[in-house]
């Protein structure tokens, strides 16, 4: 317990910020470079998790449980979103036999 507590004293908050931003950016780039829908959804999860990490860090630094509860809710929502997203994916796959985002361009202009 003691060594864990020192993490907060040793690791500056900035480090968490940077790590979180880095993960967020990687998720963003991933969403932009990939065409496979499921990987894009994974990138989304990555971004959400980076936010979670930051929240927990803030929470710890503020000594406020609110941030952790927010993380809890984000997890709930992420789960719900993934459920819906995968349901849509299944529907799409069934109807178009493809998980390529670029195949979906009937609606335009």
């Amino acid at each position: 317990m003691e060594n864990v507590m020192t993490a907060i004293r040793v690791v500056p908050l900035d480090h968490y910020l940077i790590l979180s931003f880095l993960l967020f950016s990687i998720g963003m780039v991933g969403a932009l470079v990939r065409r496979n829908i499921i990987i894009v959804i994974m990138c989304l999860e990555l971004m959400l998790n980076s936010v979670n990490l930051l929240l927990v860090a803030f929470s710890a630094y503020h000594s406020d449980p609110g941030g952790q509860i927010m993380v809890f809710f984000i997890m709930l929502v992420a789960a719900a979103e993934v459920t819906v997203g995968l349901a849509i994916l299944v529907l799409l796959k069934r109807n178009t036999d493809s998980v390529d985002m670029n195949q979906l361009n009937r609606l335009k202009w």
């Binding site: 864990v4 507590m5 993490a7 040793v10 690791v11 900035d14 480090h15 910020l17 790590l19 931003f21 880095l22 993960l23 967020f24 950016s25 990687i26 963003m28 780039v29 991933g30 932009l32 470079v33 990939r34 065409r35 496979n36 499921i38 990987i39 994974m42 990138c43 990555l46 998790n49 990490l53 927990v56 860090a57 710890a60 630094y61 000594s63 406020d64 449980p65 609110g66 952790q68 509860i69 993380v71 809890f72 997890m75 709930l76 992420a78 789960a79 993934v82 459920t83 819906v84 995968l86 349901a87 849509i88 299944v90 529907l91 796959k93 069934r94 109807n95 998980v99 390529d100 670029n102």
Partner: protein, 180 residues
């Protein structure tokens, strides 16, 4: 202690990069699991044991399994993804890079929350979280049930095969704005 942070941070970042760049979706999923586990480790470092547990259960246990399940179900592990053009990828990286740089630059000057002297190590414990959740955050907690209900109902509605679902409908058979 700091090195522990750097260690897990490095794992998270490398795993995230693998997620983004792996050719096979299966590899991506596995990398993501690794990434999530490293993040769980960060949670423990930050004294959020309850969250770390929930995180592992929800993400690694539920979400990622669901994804793997879908990948298997839809036979995607064999699908070879067509890569996007180089220009697009460069632009994407530039966008992401700029995003990161701006945020980084902003935080150089920014957040300077000092380490609180009266740091409370107990905030991450189940008891404290529970108290908070069922008192202060009761309303959102209750409402999240609506969220789940709708997600559940919706997912079932979408993914369920109706008797007459027509598969692979050619675009031309749809009503079109032919009078344009």
């Amino acid at each position: 202690m700091l090195y522990l942070f750097y260690f897990f941070a490095a794992i998270s970042v490398i795993a995230a990069l693998v997620v983004v760049s792996a050719k096979s979706p299966i590899n991506s999923v596995i990398a993501l699991v690794v990434c999530f586990l490293s993040i769980a480790a960060h949670y423990i470092l930050l004294n959020a044991q309850f969250l770390a547990m929930v995180h592992v259960i929800v993400y690694t246990g539920a979400i990622m399994v669901l994804m793997l399940f879908v990948i298997m179900l839809l036979n995607m592990n064999t699908v070879v993804e067509v890569r996007k053009p180089v220009v697009t990828r460069i632009l994407a990286v530039v966008t992401g890079g700029l995003f990161f740089l701006v945020l980084l630059a902003a935080t150089r000057s920014g957040l300077s929350t000092p380490v609180p002297a009266d740091f409370d190590p107990g905030i991450g414990l189940v008891k404290r979280i529970g108290m908070s959740l069922f008192q202060e955050f009761l309303v959102p907690f209750e409402l999240s049930s609506v969220l789940f209900l709708s997600a559940m109902a919706g997912a079932m509605m979408l993914a369920k095969k109706d008797g007459t679902a027509n598969v692979n409908l050619p675009p031309s058979s749809e009503p079109n704005d032919s009078r344009a």
